[in-house]
């Protein structure tokens, strides 16, 4: 089978993105480009208070405005608790949300929906709607959420799955392997460090948007910028009390997501408005709404305790994370578990390990999925603590991290114990080139030389430079949970329709899935016509998250391709009237090995349509991972710090990644580079900020800055040679891992340059300047 061969013709090539030409020509491809002209406009009326109860609603003035069609509040919908998190069923997130509620839990929470004939009327309706609130005391500091005196955010009786509502704890998890306290006490070197990861945001350039209409058969159809069309259909079915078969969700091109679209925001409101009015509706969030009313990163306080020998070998790791899920518990447990499960196995040589997490509510915008999914937060503390260990022992931190880290053929008990909100599965790192990543990076970055260059005298210099490193891992889908499927349908010109539930959100998954199909069938990639993410037309897929598409959806495509190849062989054998073993399927042809006669795929399919043995050659493949193969990465960074201002400038960031076979190296490198920039932004300045009453104060791209193209130095992504035996043509994931390391590597580099170890991101110039002043 093609899976055994490591020489490829289409896989491993930088094939053009299948959607690139349309995008470059400016064709309408995104959700908003297709809004029906006659669609009603839906606008959300947001709570001005962080914590409040709606006591009275007066719709009359708003309904009097010409063009306002309908106003919907909690009084107009049944109370059905659910989670907006687009996860497999049953979701590990608490059912703590209802579509429209009378209790407001953050500034921006949904108080009502205004539906109007045009934008202007909708805006006026929002202004005219009279809502009285009883204002409650908010909880804005997540370190105080569990305090007995803190107001209770989720005091409703109908929620399900909240760990301890009376203490504002959404979820809790703990696991211990071995004698943690005993080993800590007996270790000659002990480190304890607490780090804070900020509430940053995904900032997909396309805001959240959906339009909905009833098709001629009165079926609800949604076109939406979503990462989870199938989960979306399931969740909508529940909250709208409509069977899934009466709902269709279509995903066009997406203007990226990074996790922010792994939840239902505009979808539920648009669907409700469409059903209530019977008319097409559209709902677009503006940038401020995307900042405050979708997902953010879970900000966390993570404490790591290490016990080690004098030679730097780790005995024990103890990690505690306090996570802020904001107003609702979307992805609360799973992200916090990722904090441990996606970092601790990296350092698998320990004799004992403990991981405990509390995920608490606050009256702040909802945290949720964001690229990395807990790993960046966990790694900030774990890698930071290892860097502190190296400093204590006066050793090269790269060496300390290298000697303790996992290698090919090894395992970690964490794999089995910690999964996605439940038990995991045992697995061995069958492909692990972490050692190679370290060595390649060390040389390419010139680590040893750059490390030596540190040391400075503030009287003689204005700027100093330092270097830092970090190692990372991730997964490839959620083992035994994530399922993907793909259908290949043969056409009479030898092309194939590839129908996949997989959700390309800009990553290029449509392209690499086409490459997999083309490689397996031995035909040019141009002969694959890919169509993805339409719940009516494509088979099921969990969607684009957990770094699953390349591995899980890719294996589903490979399965479909192998099945369709078998069908082709069968059809040819019937036509040739020979045994199947005497048919060779190769290079888009079938060959009769008895007499050398060949038919092209086009000729074969034409015969199947119109000649003898008439039937459609079409097969569906599915895949669930028995394990979640781990990509690995080593990152090296050099920064320059202006001693007069405290400004940090990244000079060079170099990452070496083991993602198995890079199915499309240009796209794989792009994933790493893009993720690197998001992480550097978080390290340097990205953080959502709030007033004393919980009002967002930087929810715009003017105040919340992301890195522009002028200010991050050189970024390099190298790919280590690797082959994952269970992956499609040897591939593992690459979409998330790149965001895990640069934050902590930068923090380590600042320590190397200045001798000051920061424990809180972002490292704004003022923070650095003040610390430098304190040191002087």
């Amino acid at each position: 089978m093609p899976n055994d061969s490591k020489t490829f013709r289409i896989v491993g090539q930088n094939k053009e993105k299948v959607d690139a030409r349309g995008i470059l020509r400016g064709k309408p491809v995104y959700t908003e480009d297709f809004y029906p002209r006659d669609a009603l406009i839906v606008k959300v009326v947001h709570s001005p208070y962080a914590h409040a109860l709606i006591t009275r609603i007066d719709k009359s003035a708003a309904l009097d405005i010409p063009g306002v069609v309908e106003i919907l509040t909690y009084e107009d919908v049944p109370r059905i608790p659910y989670t907006r998190a687009g996860q497999g069923y049953p979701e590990p997130s608490p059912y703590d949300t209802v579509l429209l509620d009378h209790k407001m839990r953050f500034v921006g929470d949904t108080a009502a929906l205004v539906i109007a004939e045009n934008e202007r009327a909708a805006r006026m309706g929002v202004k005219a709607l009279k809502i009285d609130y009883e204002v409650l005391e908010p909880v804005l500091d997540f370190e105080k959420s569990m305090s007995p005196s803190a107001p209770i955010i989720h005091d409703q009786k109908d929620s399900k799955g909240i760990y301890e509502p009376s203490r504002n704890i959404a979820s809790h998890y703990e696991t211990t392997i071995g004698d943690v306290e005993g080993l800590l006490a007996r270790s000659p070197v002990q480190i304890e460090a607490t780090y804070y990861y900020p509430k940053s945001q995904q900032v997909a350039l396309e805001n959240h948007c959906t339009y909905a209409y009833l098709d001629p058969q009165e079926r609800l159809t949604l076109v939406s910028s979503t990462q989870v069309p199938f989960h979306g259909r399931r969740i909508l079915s529940k909250i709208l009390q409509t069977p899934p078969g009466k709902i269709r969700v279509i995903k066009p091109r997406i203007g990226s997501g990074f996790g922010s679209k792994q939840g239902l925001f505009t979808e539920g409101y648009a669907a409700l408005a469409c059903l209530k009015t019977g008319k097409p509706v559209c709902l677009s969030f503006n940038r401020e709404e995307t900042f405050t009313c979708t997902y953010t990163r879970h900000d966390m306080r993570v404490t790591v305790r290490l016990g080690a020998e004098l030679d730097g070998r780790l005995n024990v790791i103890d990690m505690y994370s306090l996570s802020n899920t904001g107003a609702y518990g979307d992805h609360a447990l799973t992200v916090a578990m990722g904090c441990g499960s996606k970092t601790l196995p990296l350092y698998n040589k320990v004799k004992a390990v403990r991981f405990v997490t509390d995920i608490v509510y606050t009256n702040l915008p909802n945290a949720g999925a964001y690229r990395g999914y807990g790993a960046p937060q966990g790694l900030l503390a774990l890698d930071g603590a290892l860097d502190e260990l190296a400093a204590r022992l006066n050793r090269d931190p790269l060496e300390i991290k290298a000697i303790n880290s996992i290698r090919e053929g090894e395992t970690s008990p964490i794999f089995q114990i910690m999964g996605e909100g439940r038990e995991g599965v045992p697995q061995i790192a069958a492909s692990c080139k972490l050692g190679e990543c370290i060595e390649i990076g060390k040389v390419a970055f010139d680590w040893a030389k750059k490390r030596k260059n540190a040391g400075w005298d503030r009287r003689t210099v204005d700027t100093v430079r330092g270097v830092g490193c970090a190692l990372a891992m991730q997964g490839s889908g959620i083992a035994k949970v994530d399922m993907a499927s793909a259908t290949l349908k043969m056409n009479d010109d030898g092309t194939f329709n590839l129908l996949v539930g997989a959700t390309d959100l800009g990553t290029g998954s449509d392209t690499i899935l086409s490459q997999i199909a083309a490689e397996a069938l031995g035909i040019p990639v141009e002969n694959i016509i890919v169509y993805s993410s339409d719940t009516d037309m494509t088979p099921f897929d969990v969607g684009a998250y957990a770094s699953s598409t390349t591995y899980v959806s890719g294996n589903a495509v490979l399965d479909a391709a192998n099945k369709v190849k078998a069908s082709i062989r069968r059809a040819a054998a019937a036509l040739f009237e020979i045994d199947e073993e005497l048919v060779e399927v190769t290079d888009g042809c079938v060959k009769n090995l008895q007499n050398g006669k060949t038919l092209t795929f086009a000729e074969l399919c034409t015969l199947c349509f119109y000649g003898a043995n008439q039937h459609q050659i079409c097969e569906t493949g599915s895949y669930v991972g028995d394990e979640s193969p781990i990509p690995f990465m080593a990152t090296f960074i050099e920064v320059e710090i202006d001693l007069k201002t405290g400004k940090i400038t990244p000079i060079e960031t170099l990452s070496v990644v083991d993602c198995g076979t890079a199915l499309n190296p240009a796209l794989a490198e792009g994933q790493v580079k893009g993720a690197t920039l998001q992480a550097l932004g978080t390290a340097l300045f990205e953080e959502l900020k709030f007033s004393e009453t919980g009002k967002p104060i930087n929810a715009s791209l003017f105040r919340y800055k992301i890195l522009d193209r002028s200010s991050f130095g050189k970024v390099t992504a190298l790919l280590a040679e690797s082959y994952e035996p269970t992956g499609p043509f040897g591939a593992k994931s690459v979409s998330e891992i790149g965001i895990n390391t640069p934050t902590v590597a930068l923090l380590n580099a600042v320590y190397h340059a200045t001798g000051i170890r920061f424990h809180r991101l972002p490292l704004a110039p003022q923070t650095v300047f003040n610390a430098l002043k304190g040191k002087a």
């Binding site: 993105k17 470059l24 400016g26 396309e206 800009g506």
Partner: protein, 155 residues
Amino acid sequence: MEIRVNVNGVEKRWNVEPSELLVDVLRDNGYKSVKKGCGSADCGTCTVLVDGRAVLSCSVFAASVSGKTIETLEGLGTDQQLHPIQQAFLDAAAFQCGFCAPGLIMATKELLEKEPALTEDQIRHELSGNLCRCSGYENQVKAISGLMDKKREGA
């Protein structure tokens, strides 16, 4: 009020409200390449050319461009023959989600005409207003630099 504009070489007469923004009027009239990423002149996705100059159409009243020439991405290249900027970005695998592409391509067109001899650092600086969250920027900058090299060689 009525405005007269030339969009991608075609004369248009549009009735607009005085308060309407150029981005909305263009999108309402079918120029869907013009994107709205922030609505506050901070992301660059709505960049179009007005009389050859790159303009953020989310911060310009449609009424103010009456009598002017507007270029949007719809006017560049054909399905058979991409414009050289489009081809360069395609060859460089410069985009992932592509939402920023229309704005960046239009800003690049202006830059190539205005200042075709810039270093990579200068290109980064000049186009810093066109944000991209996916790509890491590098392939885009290299593509633009390559276009400038070609233009100089041709000149």
